[in-house]
């Protein structure tokens, strides 16, 4: 008997997304990633005495945008609170966050699993500041702190425990990521830490109503890590229960290299954050006019865009889903179409060659090394019969590597279709002469042999031969024999 089948996994997520504002949440320092340690800092960023936080209005607007895009209610009155704890990367020893009145609440995102739609409810979205970063093990004398990230604005999105598998969690995160990217709220670069998730997991026998004891998993830096951590932790919990053990409410740290988690602290050791109102920042009144203005300015969201691609361009649901799940990819597609390319053809190139090369070369989809107009041009010269399909793939590879205009590549390398009989006839004759076996097969009625012969001719011409003409020449020449 498969024991795992008897259990239900219950998952809730706490997602931190770094907002794409150009300046920090409480000062005018840059939020840019990278930079030498402690260069994007002011006295406020390092908590010097006498400095005061002044809330960046853009941060409030970005959070409202995120809330509206995830069907949340926007609070008319909201305030900041202090979360107190000591750690050297937290310069004031309190994080300015939101406690009892988050800026957005009661929203949801819809996911589709095995063709069935499911709502994952969002309990709240609140704004807060990021901390700095401790750098260990590089100096024998001790650790150092880099406060460049200190004060970078974040939103924390907290879901209800509405997900029941790693796959559902993945779909939710994909959906959320797309929404945050579409609305420009966050660039969601996991490798730079601008999207991070903590996962709350519990398991319970399917027959049981009440939820099991949950653990919280931290340090999940990629979608892959999140999925693996959920799978490993639910398995661990089930095994623990099956062997008569007990699950303790605790925080666990995921080690992605080893594929295991270990306990960080139990609930008894849980910190008392002593939340209380931040009196340096007056409460924020959000009037409904402003909210409506922001609502009107929201761009088309992934779900709407997906439907439009299916209806307007006739893309298959799968293709539309893949392309719209990334704003960068989707924007690239739109631009290609705007530049005159046939939508279906553009989609095929993106789904096939482009995604393959991105994956192969480890390039992020927001860093496609050539502009959409180049893909449109490539499609254009294929359709006009200026190059063959075989050549087109080579040109595409070249475009990806060099960033050059496809027309220029074709010209420089002489890749245009060869469509004159004078050039092709000798090639056809040569192929017939060198492949008596295939010729005999053809004569014996095996028409498949023609394909082989054509392939040989294509090779001779490095793929440039006009397939129609060469086909015609073969048939004529073979008839003569």
């Amino acid at each position: 008997m498969n024991r795992e089948k008897d259990y239900e996994v219950v998952i809730g997520l706490e997602v931190h997304a770094e907002l794409a504002t150009s300046s920090k949440i409480f000062c005018s320092c840059s939020t840019e990633f990278g930079g030498l340690p402690n260069t994007h800092c002011c006295p406020g960023c390092i908590g010097m005495p006498g400095t005061l936080p002044v809330l960046n209005k853009n941060v409030v607007e970005f959070a409202i945008r995120a809330g509206l895009a995830t069907n949340c209610e926007i609070s008319g009155f909201t305030k900041m609170d202090r979360k107190n704890y000591f750690y050297p990367d937290l310069p004031r020893a309190y994080q300015i966050s939101q406690y009892d009145i988050p800026i957005c609440k009661d929203g949801f995102i819809e996911i589709e699993i095995n063709g069935v739609k499911k709502k994952i409810r969002i309990a709240r979205i609140h704004i807060e500041e990021d901390a700095g970063k401790l750098v260990h093990d590089q100096w024998s004398t001790g650790s150092l702190v880099d406060y460049n990230r200190s004060g970078v604005p974040l939103i924390e999105i907290v879901t209800y425990p509405d997900m029941n598998s790693a796959e559902e969690a993945r779909l939710f995160l994909e959906g959320l990521k797309a929404i945050l990217q579409y609305t420009g709220v966050s660039d969601c670069k996991m490798q730079e830490g601008s999207l991070r998730a903590d996962v709350n997991i519990s398991v319970k026998p399917k027959s049981q109503e009440e939820l099991g004891v949950r653990t919280e998993m931290k340090n999940l830096n990629s979608f892959r890590a999140i999925i693996r951590a959920i799978e490993a932790e639910s398995r661990r919990q089930i095994e623990e229960l099956e062997s008569g053990g007990k699950i303790y409410r605790e925080t666990r740290r995921w080690d992605d290299e080893k594929g295991v988690s270990f306990s960080m602290r139990s609930k008894e050791e849980a910190q008392d954050y002593r939340y209380f109102p931040e009196s340096d920042i007056p409460p924020v009144i959000i009037d409904s006019e402003w909210v409506e203005e922001i609502r009107k300015s929201l761009p088309e969201l992934p779900e709407t865009r997906k439907r439009r691609y299916m209806e307007e361009y006739g893309l298959p649901a799968y293709d539309a889903e893949i392309i719209t799940s990334s704003k960068a990819l989707s924007d690239f597609f739109e631009e290609t179409v705007k530049n005159g390319a046939n939508a279906k053809t553009a989609s095929n190139w993106i789904m096939g060659e482009l995604l393959r090369l991105l994956k192969e070369k480890g390039v992020e989809d927001d860093s496609i090394p050539f502009p959409p107009v180049h893909l449109a041009k490539l499609i254009d010269i294929i359709e006009k019969g200026i190059i063959t399909g075989t050549i087109a793939k080579k040109v595409f590879d070249n475009m990806f590597d060099s960033g050059k205009d496809p027309v220029a590549i074709v010209d420089e390398q002489g890749l245009k279709v060869v469509a004159d009989t004078g050039t092709l006839l000798p090639v056809v004759k040569k192929v017939i002469e060198n492949n008596p076996g295939s010729v005999a097969d053809y004569k014996a009625g095996k028409t498949k042999a023609l394909g082989f012969l054509m392939g040989q001719a294509m090779r001779e011409t490095k793929g440039k031969a006009d397939p129609k003409l060469i086909n015609q020449l073969f048939i004529e020449e073979l008839e003569k024999l």
Partner: protein, 497 residues
């Protein structure tokens, strides 16, 4: 009269008429500090070189016609919890014994713009936690009127410097009673402005929802002039007002006719020293004779004022002082095992007893299980107290009472009895809880020749009315009446030392 006995406007006209140069006046004040400060202990840092540079610079600006301010060239000092760029700012704590801010507090910048000359940084209770300036890590400050007595606190160094003529005026800071009470103890004028009137940027935070900066001066008009220079919106402080700041010097008229002054019975009950009570009754008589309408009112919530204030202030303090962990600046312990150990040792060694007591109390009232019983309840009480004061202001324009229940007490008398010390704040904290403006002015002396302070609490952002009443009172009982007598008393103290 000697230079240090003059008011801002008197010195201003000497400077304008070239009867004294700014460098000469500054030198005079620095010499005076040199001569007297070993006796009074007002200063933590004397910025001699910088002051002389500033003096030359301001004189040049003035001569070039690039400066027009009554504060131009007037030497002053700033409490040591107000940040001064390039000058040590210690908060009278070992924790910040070496802290030199890379920025000026907004108020300091404003004074510099007005051509003020910074003589140095004055002593205070450690992190402004205290009412006697006895908790300073560096030194005690003595009351210049009787050096066996405290100058009050936490702005004790500021009040003592003004009273002894070691500065023409000072900037103090105010959380509980820290400007008005030392002003009263040293016979000076001091104002706690409406919360939000003056930017807190650069004021080292104690309790963010109470803290304000305010001037300590010898006269009401000096006070109005300095406040006018430092008040107004600052984009670096989200709680600072966007209101237009009136010209407070226009309020300096001797006219209180029709002004309604309420005196809460709770402010003159048995807990108040008899001499002080009598001084308040005398003030009622003075104001009535000048045409004001004085009446008794009642504020029944007075007994909750001190606990409410201390719960909220200490809660905020426990969080505001958490940043001193030895990581980024200030004191760091010399030996430690790891990060946590470093933080613990640094805080144990860097803070004094009173600061640690307040951090512990504040942490306690915010802790889970106690939050609702203390902090949350105190917030509710704060709302009720504000409402009661609001109601009282429906029937009067000013609420009048003593600044403190006693005059300056002997050094060491209350330092070991924190509760008694906290109760010193009973009449000053209501204005802080409610954010209302309150002016302290001298109102006579007690049987020991120690000054008595009278307090005028005004409506929100109505500093003008309390300035008008204070000015009228000061003019009626004699301009500089206290200070000329005070000067003699101060001189006697110096001789005795």
């Amino acid at each position: 009269m000697e230079l240090h006995e003059l008011s801002i406007s008197q010195l201003g006209s000497l400077i304008k008429n070239k009867e004294v140069s700014i460098p000469k006046l500054t030198r005079y004040m620095l010499d005076r500090i040199e001569k007297l400060d070993s006796a009074y202990g007002c200063y933590i840092t004397v910025a001699e070189e910088k002051a002389m540079e500033q003096a030359a610079d301001v004189q040049a600006r003035l001569d070039g016609g690039n400066l027009d301010s009554p504060l131009a060239g007037i030497p002053m000092a700033v409490k040591d919890n107000i940040c001064t760029k390039g000058i040590l700012t210690t908060c009278a704590s070992r924790m910040l014994y070496n802290f030199i801010p890379p920025y000026d507090a907004h108020v300091v910048g404003k004074l510099y713009e007005n051509g003020a000359i910074l003589l140095g940084k004055v002593n205070m209770d450690e992190f402004a936690m205290g009412s006697s300036t006895e908790s300073s890590y560096f030194k005690k400050t003595f009351n210049p009127l009787d050096t066996e007595r405290v100058p009050g606190g936490s702005s004790g160094g500021a009040a003592a410097a003004v009273a002894s003529g070691e500065a023409i005026y000072c900037l103090g800071s105010y959380t509980g009673g820290s400007i008005r009470q030392p002003a009263a103890f040293c016979g000076c004028v001091g104002i706690k402005p409406t919360y939000g009137l003056v930017s807190r940027f650069g004021l080292v935070a104690y309790a963010s929802s109470f803290d304000q900066v305010g001037p300590l001066t010898r006269t009401v008009s000096d006070c109005a002039m300095v406040l006018g220079a430092i008040a107004g919106h600052d984009p670096m402080d989200a709680t600072s007002t966007r209101k237009r700041i009136p010209d407070y010097t226009k309020a300096l008229v001797q006219d209180v006719r029709g002004l309604r002054i309420g005196i809460p019975g709770e402010f003159v009950d048995d807990s108040v020293d008899e001499d002080i009570r009598n001084a308040v009754f005398k003030a009622i008589q003075v104001f009535s004779e000048q045409g004001a309408e004085c009446k008794e009112i009642s504020i029944p919530v007075m007994e909750y004022v001190v606990p409410t204030y201390y719960i909220i202030a200490l809660a905020e303090a426990s969080s505001n002082l958490a940043r001193y962990d030895g990581v980024k600046y200030g004191y760091r312990t010399s030996e430690y095992k790891d990060l946590i150990d470093m933080c613990k040792r640094t805080r144990s060694e860097g803070f004094g007893t009173e600061v640690k007591r307040r951090i512990l109390l504040g942490t306690y009232v915010l802790s889970s299980g106690y939050f609702d019983a203390y902090y949350k309840k105190a917030l509710k009480a704060r709302t009720i107290i504000s409402r009661e004061f609001g109601r009282a202001f429906e029937e009067c324009d000013i609420i009048m009472g003593p600044v403190a229940p006693t005059t300056a007490y002997k050094i060491g008398e209350k330092i070991n009895d924190p509760l008694k010390m906290y109760m010193e704040d009973i009449f000053t904290v209501p204005a802080n809880i409610t954010g209302l403006p309150a002016l302290a002015i001298p109102a006579g002396i007690d049987r020991n020749n120690m000054p008595i302070g009278l307090q005028l609490i005004g409506k929100r952002f109505d500093e003008s009315t309390i300035f008008r009443a204070g000015y009228t009172f000061e003019q009626t009982i004699g301009s500089n009446w206290t200070s000329s007598r005070m000067n003699n008393q101060v001189n006697n103290q110096v001789k005795n030392k």
